[in-house]
């Protein structure tokens, strides 16, 4: 086994927009791949591992990357899988890439990836907003979490996007919590502005062995740890806060807690070491839930925690600093996840412009949440862990 630890050497976001006319998913993937390799100072000829959404082998054929290792992981799990493949000596340079354009065209319906097909869910008209609302409501009735606290999360993240020139909704703010509460109701307690948008775009990351970085231009960002918690397939069973397994441990409402514990333990880090939290933000409440599940505040304290300004870029726990899926972009299943990690890399490189968290050295990135019955985390650092 090679001892090379994995670092992220290149990241890239293509243009993001509500609709990218004249682009297709495949063209965006090609553009994103070349952009991330350029950022890493590498070329296609250096790549010997690939993870993309769906069938990686088709991309290996189309980009003539074979013979190459391929991964199967989705979202943040792909980043951990790529890092482990490098550490295990199965590949030296792994390209992770995903994009979407022209996928969501029926605007009378919610996006296709949000609609359940299971026979015990579909006839009730559920979709992601409703699934996550069922989780949020349970927290509200249990702990007294308020719509204003949810709106504070949405306003904070949307204000980040307002200041991010690459965000789809750049310059669309600033927002106050009242603005969120004044937007039309989608799935109570979520107003329109509590929800992610839908958009199009692509993105890519390039991971290499740490000892390779001496030759490369970018400041290395180390993958220090990761974790994944699953309770079942998304959108087929009741999205219940109290869903529990036979082994004990956190219930579904606390999903991600086990993953975070393991990631911190593996990295040799404490919660207090984290400088920036690039949390997945499909709906405003999910930030409150993850802050609790990951151990940044006590159970039930997430609402008051976000009210006190902790999560602003200038606060103690800055979250989702590119504007997230609410304001930066939400281009389908995989890009929305990978982009949390890309933003973590930008923060640790000091490339986040007006939204830079000064001196950020450790970032926690996350993907999905309790409405989806899974939650994954990745810990990034400017220094290799001991």
């Amino acid at each position: 086994m090679s001892a090379g630890r994995a670092v992220i050497a290149g990241v890239y976001n293509t243009p993001q927009a509500r609709r990218l006319e004249n682009w297709t998913t495949r063209k965006l993937i090609a553009s994103a791949a070349l952009g991330a390799l350029r950022d890493a100072g590498l070329t296609l000829a250096d790549v010997d591992g690939v993870i993309t959404e769906g069938d990686s082998s088709a991309l290996i054929y189309d980009l003539r990357l074979g013979p190459a290792w391929q991964g199967r992981g989705f979202g943040l799990d792909a980043v951990v899988e790529a890092a482990n493949a490098i550490k295990g000596g199965q590949a030296d340079v792994v390209l992770i890439v995903a994009a979407a354009a022209g996928v969501y065209v029926d605007r009378d319906a919610t996006a296709p990836w949000t609609r359940p097909e299971n026979e015990f869910v579909a006839p009730w008209g559920l979709f992601t907003a409703a699934e996550f609302a069922l989780i949020a409501r349970r927290h509200m009735t249990t702990y007294g979490t308020t719509p204003e606290q949810l709106a504070t999360v949405a306003a904070t993240i949307r204000n980040n996007g307002h200041q991010n020139p690459e965000a789809v909704y750049f310059g669309r703010g600033p927002f106050k919590p009242e603005d969120i509460l004044a937007s039309r109701m989608i799935a109570d307690p979520f107003h329109l502005l509590d929800c992610s948008m839908t958009s199009e775009g692509g993105c890519a990351l390039v991971l290499v062995a740490a000892d390779r970085m001496a030759d490369l231009p970018a400041k290395p960002v180390h993958v220090l740890g990761g974790g994944a918690d699953y309770y079942g397939p998304a959108y087929q069973f009741p999205p219940s806060w109290d869903l529990a397994g036979r082994r004990g441990g956190p219930v579904n409402g606390r999903i991600g807690g086990r993953a975070a514990d393991r990631a911190f333990r593996h990295a040799g880090l404490e919660r207090s070491d984290v400088d920036v939290l690039e949390l997945y933000d499909p709906f405003s409440f999910e930030i409150i839930r993850q802050l609790e599940a990951f151990g940044f505040c006590e159970p039930g304290e997430g609402g008051p925690f976000v009210e006190d300004g902790h999560i602003a870029v200038t606060g103690s726990h800055p979250v989702t600093t590119d504007g997230g899926t609410m304001s930066f972009s939400h281009a389908g299943g995989s890009p929305q996840m990978f982009q949390r990690v890309i933003r973590g890399v930008q923060q640790l490189r000091g490339e986040a412009g007006p939204l830079q968290v000064p001196g950020a050295e450790v970032a926690l990135c996350s993907g999905a949440g309790a409405g989806a019955l899974f939650n994954s985390v990745v810990l990034l650092g400017t220094e290799a862990s001991s």
Partner: protein, 141 residues
């Protein structure tokens, strides 16, 4: 703002019942809510499954539910998933008295009057020919 929520009507998205789930839907058409119980460990399994989720035994039988329970969580949808649904409607999770949960939609109550833990009972409606759905409404007594 006190219009009670009503069942849907017309063609709704739904999967064709499988061999495993057909007994549930057939009994819905008769106005009876059912669930699977494992003969070996007595655990309830819902939605239906081939192998008991608790003990992995395969001897699963169907039992009738009282159709009564309490409201575990809910949302009121104003932007429907597709145009097939007429808003507002209220997806919910119900805790059945027998000790399991299911997804449903609440009817017969105005959105602003819904409260956590309220007693509810099943109320079947044929929303399109052959599709009998087990909605839930506030309990009569």
């Amino acid at each position: 703002m006190s219009t009670p929520l009503a069942p849907q009507h017309g063609e709704l998205p739904h999967a064709e019942p499988t061999e495993l789930s057909a007994p549930f839907w057939n009994r819905c058409a008769e106005g009876t809510l059912t669930f699977q119980r494992c003969a070996a460990c007595r655990s309830i399994n819902f939605p239906p499954v081939e192998v008991c989720r608790e003990c992995l035994d395969t001897d699963l039988g169907w039992e009738e539910s009282s159709g009564r329970g309490t409201l575990y969580s809910w949302t009121v949808v104003h932007r429907p998933v597709t145009a097939a649904f007429t808003p507002p409607y209220a997806p919910a999770i119900v805790d059945l008295d027998e000790g399991y949960q299911m997804v449903t939609d609440l009817i017969g109550i105005a959105p602003e009057e819904i409260t956590a833990g309220m007693p509810v009972e099943v109320d079947f409606h044929e929303v399109s020919p052959g599709l009998h759905l087990p909605y839930f409404r506030p309990s009569a007594g």
